[in-house]
């Protein structure tokens, strides 16, 4: 906890805040935090209060629960209603409303939906319950993908035939490329995800400064990390530079984690997958390789209801940073963390949930 205490030291944070204020930029700059973990930390520590007015922070598409499209939830719901299937999942996903219901509702109706802290725990559970087909819901980015690759590999090695993975795993760089190609996205600088970069390394972001002229800094998750990152971005902007810098050097190495990359390659292959708010992004998903098809839950035949979006939900624009959560007409009215209409209000890393929970003014 010593490191944490140092990275939350109020004096140190205030010192960096002063340095930011002194950067000579006579315009408003919009910095986007891509990662949901950053969104949560920014609100959790109320970092905006420490920044000068001309720094605007917007949230991007980096909350894995939020970018999961409705049809994935619908397929999970259909599977959960099969009598012999156990759905194994990480926490937040069970409350995301699908086209007609959430996994939490299916559970209340008798479906077997269980929350696990890791995919390895779910595999252990599957091995102990051979009479059930255990479907693990694989959502997340590279960080989660490499642990899921390891679990899938052990399932194959142990010949655990009742364990299946339903993959909606995603990779970050293609999404960023799609993001900056969208006409309604206006961003001056990018706060890049720390954990994801631990796996994939920094080189794969080089196209962002070179093609889009946008400064990038890989950031840690503590207040001091984020403030230093914002300072670095402002400095790049002031000097009219754009490059990829690494603030999170205590954890992230330029080349990433080659072993994890090999493992992911071994188990998964690129696929075109839908993102909430973006539609299908070519090559942005990780599907289970054909040779492991026996472990692919996609192949379990179920009837999935036709997917529909919730009327009025503006999650898509929120995820592109084009709309502030409070600008959504449903925000705080029919959409609250207890009655979510969209995924962004569910996840602890979702922008709507963060604003709802942490904004120090009354809303709704």
């Amino acid at each position: 906890m010593k490191v944490l205490t140092a990275l939350r030291n109020a004096d140190a944070v205030r010192h960096v805040a002063r340095e930011i204020a002194e950067v000579k930029l006579d315009r408003t700059v919009r910095l986007m935090e891509v990662c949901g973990g950053h969104t949560a930390a920014i609100y959790r520590f109320a970092l905006r209060d420490l920044l000068p007015e001309w720094v605007e922070l917007v949230s991007g598409p980096g909350c894995p629960v939020c970018v999961t499209a409705n049809d994935f939830v619908d397929r999970s719901v259909a599977l959960a209603r099969q009598p012999n299937v156990t759905i194994a999942t990480f926490g937040d996903l069970i409350r995301v409303p699908g086209s007609s219901r959430s996994l939490a509702e299916v559970r209340a109706e008798g479906g077997d939906v269980r929350v696990f802290y890791s995919s390895a725990d779910a595999l252990d559970w599957a091995i102990q319950h051979p009479e059930r087909i255990v479907v693990f819901l694989g959502i997340g980015f590279e960080t989660t993908a490499c642990t899921l690759a390891a679990t899938l590999k052990s399932a194959v090695q142990d010949n655990a035939r009742n364990f299946r993975l339903l993959s909606s795993l995603k990779t970050m760089p293609p999404a960023l490329s799609a993001l900056f190609s969208a006409p309604d996205v206006k961003v001056d600088g990018l706060i890049l995800p720390g954990h994801v970069t631990t796996v994939i390394g920094t080189a794969c972001y080089e196209f962002i400064p070179s093609e889009f002229n946008i400064p990038c800094v890989v950031s840690g998750f503590e207040p001091l990390d984020l403030m230093e990152t914002i300072l670095k971005l402002c400095q790049q902007l002031a000097e009219a530079r754009a490059s990829v810098e690494n603030q999170y050097r205590r954890v992230v190495h330029a080349e990433g984690n080659p072993q994890a990359q090999v493992l992911m390659d071994e188990m998964f292959e690129p696929a075109d997958v839908p993102w909430r708010g973006f539609g299908v992004i070519p090559g942005s998903g990780l599907a289970i390789r054909r040779e492991f098809a026996d472990w692919d839950a996609e192949r379990i035949p179920v009837e999935v209801e036709p997917t529909r979006e919730h009327a009025g939900c503006r999650c898509g624009e929120v995820l592109r940073g084009a709309l502030h959560p409070t600008e959504c007409p449903l925000f705080g009215k029919s959409c609250t963390p207890d009655t979510p209409r969209g995924a962004c209000m569910v996840s602890a890393e979702g922008a709507c949930a963060a604003v709802y929970h942490f904004s120090p003014v009354e809303h709704g």
């Binding site: 906890m1 944490l4 939350r8 030291n9 109020a10 944070v13 205030r14 973990g37 949560a40 609100y43 959790r44 520590f45 109320a46 970092l47 905006r48 209060d49 420490l50 894995p64 629960v65 990480f90 926490g91 937040d92 996903l93 069970i94 409350r95 409303p97 219901r101 959430s102 939490a104 509702e105 559970r107 209340a108 109706e109 929350v115 802290y117 959502i139 997340g140 980015f141 960080t143 989660t144 954990h195 207040p223 609250t336 963390p337 207890d338 009655t339 979510p340 996840s347 602890a348 890393e349 949930a353 709802y356 929970h357 942490f358 904004s359 120090p360 003014v361 009354e362």
Partner: protein
Amino acid sequence: MADRVVTLNHGAGGETMRRFITKLFVEKFANPALNTLADAALIEIEKSRLAFTTDSYIVKPIEFPGGDIGKLAVCGTVNDLAVMGARPLHLSVGFIIEEGFDLSMLERIVHSMSEATRAANVEIVTGDTKVVPRGECDGLFINTSGVGACPLGKGLSSAPIGEGDAILVSGTIGEHGMAILTAREGLKFQTRIESDCAALGGLIESVLNECDGVKWMRDATRGGLAAVLSELVESQPFGALIEEQAVPVRDDVRTVCELLGFDPMHLANEGKVVMVVRGDQRQRALEVLHANDLGRQAVLIGRITGDGKGIVRVRTEVGGIRRLQRPAGELLPRIC
């Protein structure tokens, strides 16, 4: 979420549960004692004032580090009476036991209940036992009700809560929630986190005896400090400002919270009381709390404010201001 069936959210201590209770039960059963939704009802019976409360206990695992369902049932009911300014006296207990339940475990639980009643200076004076067929309840459920006497002339101050009042908590928060979570999920960490499960009758009585100006108390159970503080300010002409740095959290609890993405202020406690005390009495109240083992780590965590009406704000460790809300439904770990 559609309201066709009851979900776990309806019992999780958050906003859904609050609405569920007020919309269903309070509307149907409405009466002045119930409508306040306090931890115990204050009722007059032939000129004496009694506090009366009931609660059902369901916990998995049934035995956990620092306690078991029996100790929890006694302490929980005692605490609900004590925070209303009453001296807990008599309890009733109802057991609903699933066929096949291990008898030696039941003996251990009954033993720990008897120890808890002795420590809390209360008696179990009536009870009931039902055994249900296998599969019809999950092991063992316990319901306890309790009555306590409200001493005349003492107890909670009737002065209204207002700007400048101090908010105190009697010790470190989150241990019970974290003990249950780590025991249930089999999460292995270096230290074993024990529940803070304890009866607070004596501690609370000493504070009420030795300082006037204690205006409000709650034990911070499900929903944690966040739920209690939200209840304190809800629809009131005042707000609360909490200094995050002052909120006491044990290092091991904090570490697991960081890992799983939980706010310690959302975790349940079973041996901590939150008090609102007139500003000039806060030092005295702390001294009295510190003199008791259960209040050794009591601290001032914030104050009542005239602005930010109806909401709880937190000054974060680094100096920003954010809002503190009740947790939404079950606590679920984040994904990465």
